[in-house]
Subunit: 154 residues, 3 copies
């Protein structure tokens, strides 16, 4: 078992099959060793693990947990992008984190840390990335968080 797979196993996390492509877009595109991963929602077992706005009933802890689920779905896309061998990941370059929030919510970084820290834990040095975290008005399906990503692979 690879290092990345063993770290996931240590955390009791199984990387799911990513959802099938929808309409004219796909979960990721590979071009010249760069993987662009579509915005991932906190979908687990076909349903959203967290809906609603941060600042209006959803706590920072719940938001961070949702961001981790987004990151698990990012790794699910990466596993397919790497033909199953996630050791081909060279680097997580960037995460783009969108938090559905009210105008007076200000803890977006703590929410997106749920994704960043997970990627760092699983990928180690390869998981140290650039990031943007912003608060948006609303997200698809009333999701609380959406995270997109860019990776380099070999």
């Amino acid at each position: 078992m690879s290092t990345i797979e063993s770290r996931l196993a240590d955390m009791g996390i199984t990387i799911p099959e990513p959802p099938a492509p929808v309409a004219a877009y796909v979960g990721h595109v590979v071009h010249n060793g760069i993987v662009t991963v579509s915005g991932q929602l906190p979908l687990a077992g076909g349903a959203l693990s967290q809906t609603g706005l941060l600042g209006a009933g959803v706590s920072v802890e719940e938001g961070a947990a949702a961001a981790q689920v987004c990151a698990i779905n990012i790794l699910a896309q990466m596993k397919v992008a790497c033909d199953g061998d996630m050791e081909r990941i060279v680097r997580c370059i960037r995460l783009g984190g969108f938090v559905a929030s009210t105008a007076d919510f200000t803890d977006h970084p703590k929410v997106i840390n749920g994704a960043s820290e997970f990627i760092g834990t699983i990928l180690g040095d390869k998981g140290v990335h650039a990031r943007a975290a912003v608060g948006v008005a609303a997200l698809p399906m009333n999701a609380s968080v959406e995270v997109e990503a860019t990776f380099a692979i070999s």
Copy 2:
């Protein structure tokens, strides 16, 4: 007439001249075969085809139509980036879709499908892209939709 041009003609769509560069930024940048296209608004003939918020008077159908206009303007940038020969497009890598929406609107994907499906129809296999779709508080000039893009060209 190229395949891409003929598909546009079949749809009765003429790719406009893109708007002139404004201030210190431009409509697109080409670097190492990658074209980064600035966020495009639903401008047609110098005016916005759709203003206002999804969830407050603008329907999903109107939003999707506006997203298609954004995608036409993306292709207008691409035509210039390719010195007029859009067959040089290798791949649409990513669309970033921003939907001006209320906090309770949840159909952002259906809105941005107006851009994704158009790109897929015109570019075929080369048009299958990664995507993020989010709901923002407001957009320039009160536009309902803004779409940015990344392409690879030869």
Copy 3:
């Protein structure tokens, strides 16, 4: 003194040390000559130079000034990415501008021009970039503006 450094000196601007890496993400990532700069807030001397929403008490001029501070922090990241020699900058490829705004604010481009015009002034031809500017619900720490960037370096 290099051209870029002398232009900064002419404007009386000192590029600060960038803030230390926080948690599992960093201020920038360099991969294959492309620098991805994390979303920068208008931090100056450890505090935000501007908080609050455009459209609710923050003027366009104040927003543009905050966007310039974000751009100074982007150059601070670039200076480190270039090991101190900003003449290694080949091109600013893209700025992504997020403006914390109310739903009826529509002048996001004028706000982000505070970053774009600064980058253009300092970098000249190398500073002409693609851009997206959108209005978001809220930003970290109640910042009025956040700007991320992509550069090519030699």
